[in-house]
Structures are given as structure tokens and as C-alpha cells.
């Protein structure tokens, strides 16, 4: 196997770089490097709990970006999937005595069903209407979480045992838990990555660019969109369910609409429509929140300010702007 020699003589550095980066093997090497980095991060002085939180939110943002960045649908209700999955997973593990992997699976399944229902209701509308409808549907889920007996209202579900993965890996050991979360993250990321880089993903991008043309090519756009929405909701649920295991709790915070806003911000800040943007966005926001934890309501003010600055000045997000400067096709 030899790489076909390209004539790279008259290309700018950025183009060359872009060329190299679009090579599959380079991408795979990049992923390998990423996996190694995540695997050794706890030994580089990062706090495992902080890292796990970051991985969960990054996965959440990846799932959300699948819709916003690749289908052009802004959902303002993703907290419903994130929060409800974490409730179901916490409840299943604590009350029904499920193993962690089964608990997480139950939460993910719940998000999948919810996503299919919401998707079929909301997808008939576009743009702003779509955002408003998802927000309203998610608020319904929030009120359900406030009132349903099993969620324990304001207290949430606390003290969820971490249990033993597959019955023999003790998750109360922090490092065991860490590698479990890492495995979940990689699984989720690859599902999304495969979806984006499959014919399905190509059609989704086409829908974003020109919906009527895709329809005229004979594709069932509605079904495609509902599929994308359900997939996004499912992976979001996977992230939420895993977060419940990590923090041993499920609370109203995860299902409130400000959580939906947070994931929108992470994606916007990182760069919507870029593959790695959500990871950077989640990293910045999670770090900021940990850093400002003692500041009360100022966190909200700062979050809001970042939103405003992002929308007014760098709409491509951190990764998007970098890619533009380096002229890389992200």
C-alpha cells in the first residue's frame, strides 16, 4: 500500500495541512492519540471526577451537535433526554437493583423512546418553531420530574450505589469508574462519527443545505430527520445515564431548560458543525463552572455574557475560527 503521490507543490501550508488531515489514516492516528490522552489524563494531575464530568458533557454536546451542526435543527429541549435518562438509570440501579451497565442501558432506552416521540411531534416544524416546540415539550418533562413520586422532587435521587460492572468490576474504585466512562464516551463518539460519515450523514448534511432538493431526489426527509433526532436523543441519554452513575444522583438541574441552554452554549462556543468543537466547548464551560462554583448567580451572568459575545463576534466557535485561520475544511 502506497499513498498516491499528490502534487502539493503549489499549495499553501493550510491547504497542505487540510489535505493531510483529511486522510483517513491521519484521522485514525488522531483518534488513537485522543484515546491515549484521555486514558492517561488522570495521571497528568487532572481530577478524575472533573474529567468524567467533562466526558459526559462532551458526549452530550456531540449528540446535540449532530442535530444543530449537521441537520441544522436547533433543539432547545435536550435536557429532557439528558435528565430523564439520568433519573431512570439512577432509579433502576438504586431501587430495582440493576447492574450499572443495565441501568445505563435503561436510561438510554428511555431517552430513545422519548426522542422518537418528541421528534415526530416537533419535526414537522422548522427553525424557530422547532426550537420553541422542543423547549415546551421538555418543560412538560421537567414538570413531570417535579411531580412524579420516584424522582423525589426537589431532593432528586441521591446515594445511587455505583455497583459492579458486569458483576465483577467494582465501580466504587475511581479508576475503574473512569475507564468505564471513557469506554462509554468512545462508544458514543464513534456512533456519532460513523453516523456523520455514512451515507445517512451525507443526506442529513444535504437536508441542511437544501431540503426541497433532497425531497425531490426521493428521500423521505421527515423520516430522516426523526431518525437523526432519535439518535441524538439516545446518545444524549447515554451521557445523562452515565452522569447519574458518576455523581451517584439524579436531580432537577439535569432536566431543567437551563441545561438545554448550556449544551447549546457548549456547541456554539466550540463550533457547531465541527467534529471536535463540542469537546472544546464542553471543556471550557465545565472548567469555568468548576472554577466559578463559589460565585453563585454570577455564573449565570458570565454564561449569558459568553453567549452574547459568541453570537456577536465569533459565531464559528473556537474550533471553527481556528479552522478558518488555518484554512482547514473541518
Amino acid at each position: 500500500m502506497t499513498i498516491a503521490k499528490e502534487d502539493t507543490g503549489n499549495m499553501s501550508t493550510g491547504q497542505k495541512l487540510s489535505h493531510v488531515l483529511s486522510d483517513r489514516r491521519v484521522q485514525l492516528a488522531g483518534f488513537g492519540l485522543g484515546i491515549v490522552l484521555i486514558a492517561i489524563a488522570p495521571f497528568l494531575g487532572f481530577y478524575p471526577i472533573y474529567l468524567m464530568k467533562l466526558l459526559c458533557f462532551a458526549l452530550f454536546a456531540f449528540a446535540f451537535n449532530l442535530l444543530l451542526g449537521f441537520v441544522g435543527l436547533l433543539s432547545f429541549g435536550h435536557a429532557a433526554f439528558f435528565g430523564m435518562a439520568s433519573y431512570i438509570s439512577a432509579h433502576a440501579i438504586k431501587v430495582w437493583g440493576f447492574n450499572p451497565e443495565l441501568g445505563v442501558a435503561a436510561g438510554t432506552l428511555m431517552a430513545c423512546v422519548l426522542g422518537a416521540v418528541f421528534g415526530s411531534l416537533a419535526i414537522r416544524q422548522r427553525g424557530i418553531y422547532f426550537a420553541m416546540i422542543t423547549l415546551a415539550l421538555a418543560q412538560m418533562v421537567y414538570f413531570f420530574a417535579v411531580q412524579a413520586p420516584f424522582t423525589h422532587g426537589e431532593d432528586g435521587i441521591q446515594g445511587v450505589p455505583r455497583g459492579e460492572l458486569f458483576g465483577f468490576i467494582d465501580l466504587s474504585q475511581t479508576m475503574n469508574l473512569y475507564y468505564f466512562v471513557m469506554a462509554v464516551f468512545i462508544l458514543g463518539f464513534f456512533i456519532i462519527y460513523r453516523a456523520i460519515h455514512s451515507p445517512f450523514g451525507q443526506i442529513l448534511k444535504a437536508v441542511r443545505e437544501n431540503e426541497s432538493r433532497v425531497t425531490s431526489l426521493g428521500y423521505n426527509v421527515t423520516a430522516l430527520k426523526v431518525g437523526a433526532f432519535t439518535l441524538s436523543a439516545t446518545i444524549t441519554g447515554l451521557a445523562g445515564a452515565t452522569k447519574a452513575v458518576v455523581f451517584q444522583s439524579a436531580t432537577l438541574t439535569d432536566v431543567h431548560w437551563s441545561m438545554s441552554g448550556e449544551v447549546v452554549l457548549m456547541t456554539l462556543l466550540g463550533g457547531m458543525g465541527t467534529v471536535l468543537g463540542p469537546l472544546f466547548g464542553a471543556g471550557i464551560i465545565v472548567t469555568l463552572q468548576d472554577y466559578l462554583a463559589g460565585m453563585g448567580s454570577w455564573v449565570t451572568v458570565i454564561t449569558g455574557s459568553i453567549f452574547v459575545i459568541c453570537v456577536l463576534t465569533f459565531r464559528r466557535g473556537v474550533v471553527g475560527e481556528l479552522a478558518r485561520i488555518l484554512k482547514i475544511q473541518s
Binding site: L74, L121, A122, R124, Q125, G127, I128, Y129, A131, M132, I133, L135, A136, L137, Q139, M140, F143, F144, V146, Q147, W257, S258, G261, V264, L268, G296, S297, W298, V299, T300, V301, T303, G304, S305, I306, F307, V308, C310, V311, L312, R315
Partner: protein, 296 residues
Amino acid sequence: MTELLGIPPQVLFGQVMLGLINGSFYALLSLGLAVIFGMLNVINFAHGALYMVGAFVAWMMLNYLGIGYWPSLILAPLVVGALGVVLERTMLARLYHLDHLYGLLLTFGLALIIEGLFRNAYGVSGTPYPIPQALSGGQNLGFMFLPNYRAWVVVAAVIVCFGTWFLIERTRIGSYLRAAVENQELVRAFGVNVPLLMTLAYGGAVALAGFAGVMAAPIYQVSPLMGQDIIIKVFAIVVIGGLGSIFGSMVTGLGVGVIEGMTKVFYPEASSVVVFVLMAIVLLVRPHGLFGRPRT
């Protein structure tokens, strides 16, 4: 006194009345949202926060400056409207050439900033605002007791909504507005200052939200969180009514308020979600809303 459907009439009428009051606020807010959406093509997420600012401005005027309810009813909306004009000129105006979603994201950020600032200053517990002297007390209607202030709220909201309808449907500036919604380029070509019109529309619509805030202050506690949950309900109401007509948003607002009140009587657990259930049903039956036209 006979019972209706096994419910004492005082309870039933009391809840319908409460529903009408909530509905008045829904109507005022969704009216503003409809105007802003029509003119600027932006869904104003900060609408709830500005409603809260209206209530707080009235409260501050009373506590720091000794200005009473009636002057506040004029002054507070003016303050909120001015704030709206500043926000529109400095921020929103930069986004008109982009996807509409950016306006939603920007106003979401603004809502977070405004609510966060007030939470820092005043906590989350909320403070009471006294009912104005002239409207204290109430009427005994035989089948129920009607507090004067509540009756005033419903009447005032209907008058303001009607006034807005008149302004938009029956005056010259309203005709410019409607024409600009249809075709901005053409209206501009006739020499109408469309950017100014947009600024005024935004300012006026958020002033309505401020007005609703002042009216709400004596009924609910004045709290930094008061705008948070109402705005999402209003979004659902906007979806139910469709962003089609002013009349539609008024009727839908009041109607949803009453339905909410009835739900509190018959099935209290569902009262907080009934709006969203209604929305889901309407979406299945009439995707563009009860009064909306299918948008292309």
C-alpha cells in the same frame, strides 16, 4: 347554592377568574412576541426577563423613590422600552442578515444576564408589592367574591391588547409596520425608515412586557425568577395560536389561562403541564397553529 359538576361554584368561578388573570399576562406577552417575530423575525427569549424587569422597576420606584403604582404603570414600561431600544440597536440589529436562530441565542444569553444580575441583587425569595389603594377591596357578586385589582388587570389587559391591535391595524404607522413585514425592500424604497420602525417595534413590544410586569407585581411576588417559567408557557401559547394574528394571540392567551384554571379544579396535578399537552394536540391537528398561516 347549587353545585356545578360537583364543584362548589365559588371554587370554580374563582379558578376561572384566576385563569383569566394569568391569561391576561399570557396574552400581553404573546402579543409582544408576535409583534417582534413579525417585524424582526426574532423570537425574543428575553421577553420573560424584561417582564420581570418591569415588575422590579415598579418595585424600585416605590421603595427608593416613593413613586406609586399609577405613575409606575406608565414609567416602568418606558424604562423597559428604552432598555429594549438599546438592546435592539447595539446587538440585535447586527444579526438581521443571519439565520434567525442567532437572534434566539442572543436573547437567551441576554435573559441569563438580566436574571443573573437581579438574582445577585435581590436573591430569589421575592418581595411583595402592595395593591394600590384605589383598587383594594372587592365586589361580592353573590356566587363569588371578586377582588377589584384582579378585575382591573383583566380589563386593562384587554384594553391594551385592543389598543395595540388598533395601532397596528388602523393607523398609518401600523400600515407601515404591516407592509414592512410583507416586503421590507419595497417599503424602504418608498422612503420609510425601516430600521427605525424595527427599533420602535422591539421597544414597544418589550414595553408591553414591562407593563405586564407592573400589573403582575401586586398579584405575584416580585422575584427575579418570575419571568423564567412564564416565558416557556408563552412560547407554547405562541405555538398553539400560531404567530399569525394579534387577535389570535389574545384569544389563545386568555383561553389557555382559563383552561389552566379549570384544570386546577378538576385535575390539579396536570395544571402545570396542560399548556404543553394542548400544544402537542394542536401540533398534531393544525401544525401551524390555530390562527397561523402556513409559513413558506
